[in-house]
Subunit: 253 residues, 2 copies
DNA sequence: CGCGAAGTTGAATGGGATCAAAGCACGTGG
DNA sequence: CCACGTGCTTTGATCCCATTCAACTTCGCG
């Protein structure tokens, strides 16, 4: 077993919708060999409003999507991880509808629209995968809208944590240790809160035994409890003093 | 000139994306003759999660979209007017992604997916119109997300009013009298507020001379002022007592 | 080691929610 | 025609959750 790589796993294409047509992923010499792009934390992949010339499947790392309204109000609108695809709007619009910024060292492919469009026309499998991806994104956005519109802060944060864990499970990671590549500020923006509130809630979740947090490493200890918080909001109220002997699980490795 | 119809104008197809292929709209005998549906206030057009067998262009009246999350939290997610199309997700999904309920007496067409799909395949014009409609909807949802996530109540309401006015202008109505078919509660749900807050803000906007409200009739007096409220939020703060002689415009006709 | 960015924690404030009570429009039936 | 009931709206008083302001700690990196 090789030594552990940085914090994220090596480039992973297993969830990429373009995998069957991609030489990087399946090795077929006759297939597409996409250009790749590498980004460092803070680098901008593309900017909202600029011409959309490609879509960008993420191979490793992580990015945030930032949306800016017509009058200049910005908000984080999503976090994308390996297996997700940035800029899918390119296949039916000519401009990007959000800005994408790397949260950590990130590697992604770039598939030009001139390559993409024939692929979508000719391959029903890929087309279906892309449509499915768009619908998942729309559904998540609708759920987020309701969360921000009518749920309390604790519910929103619980939702995000469960969401991140589900995403992680979807890409096959077994142990429940999440790495939050984004800052507290990014999380707060995404959830319509402030960074202080996010920090306080993470501490409170930790005190309640739902999670273990240490900086950007997070382990979900009690998924059912988190789900209860998401559904109820008052499930974790006062930071009850943990009495005496409570040999909780050791800190995150 | 016939006497004025109820409160909304007669069935209007001028903005319908399917107009060029529709006998109701263009009179071409060889074209499609869609089935029509009539609803009374409160009637349900379709329900989230049920099989999507058709799309429903609205000819007259108005409806609200209601989205329900996986754990049963509901929120109004949009208001649709004549020229809009309900259930457009049908062309790539097999289930409706929201519930649609009539706000008033409403008339709409029903175009079965079996009819829709060939139409979209063969007619680039219609396809483009449908894509444009979906993108406008996505953009509006993103703006709403930022508004609910980080704007104050007054800003959100100003945004909605300006939006409704713009929609009305888009369908060619000249005088600026809006008819709010939805209740204060619907507005509040859509904006992530409570009905009391919406009511108070409408009164405050009225006192500030931005609008004239009386029940569900609303006239925008000062669009620029409203835009300032949308951008700033503090533009209309204290309900300043209107001093003395201020012969404001007469009540809404 | 020292600096800046990110995170934690506390205390005070405020905006919107909640609770409560009238007021108003509209349909229904006496 | 008017009395009545119901649902929607308005307005007031109070409360509470999240924001704001501020101080301090921790981490990452030159």
């Amino acid at each position: 077993m090789p030594p552990q790589l940085s914090t994220s796993s090596a480039p992973c294409c297993t969830l990429c919708p373009f995998r069957p047509a991609c030489r990087l992923a399946c090795g077929n010499a006759a297939s597409l060999m996409p250009r790749t792009v590498t980004l460092r934390a803070g680098d901008v992949l593309y900017i909202q409003g600029r011409a959309a010339r490609a879509v960008y499947p993420i191979r490793a790392g992580g990015v945030k999507q930032v949306f800016e309204t017509g009058i200049g109000w910005r908000q984080v609108s999503g976090f994308l991880q390996p297996g997700d695809v940035c800029g899918l709007e390119a296949h039916e619009a000519d401009a990007h509808d959000a800005t994408v910024i790397a949260l950590q060292d990130t590697e992604c492919c770039a598939i030009a629209v001139e390559t993409l469009r024939p692929m979508l026309r000719d391959d029903p499998g890929i087309r279906a995968a892309v449509v499915a991806m768009q619908r998942r994104h729309a559904r998540r956005q609708a759920e987020l809208l309701v969360a921000i519109g009518s749920m309390k802060a604790a519910q929103r944060l619980a939702m995000l944590l469960l969401d991140l864990a589900a995403e992680q499970a979807r890409r096959g990671v077994a142990d429940g240790v999440l790495t939050l590549a984004m800052t507290r500020n990014d999380i707060a923006s995404y959830l319509g809160l402030t960074l202080e509130t996010v920090s306080r809630l993470l501490s409170r979740f930790g005190a309640a035994g739902l999670i273990i947090v240490r900086q950007r490493k997070l382990r979900i200890v009690d998924p059912d409890g988190l789900a209860a918080v998401h559904a109820d909001g008052d499930a974790v109220a006062a930071p009850a003093p943990p009495a005496a002997a409570q040999a909780g699980p050791p800190a995150i490795p």
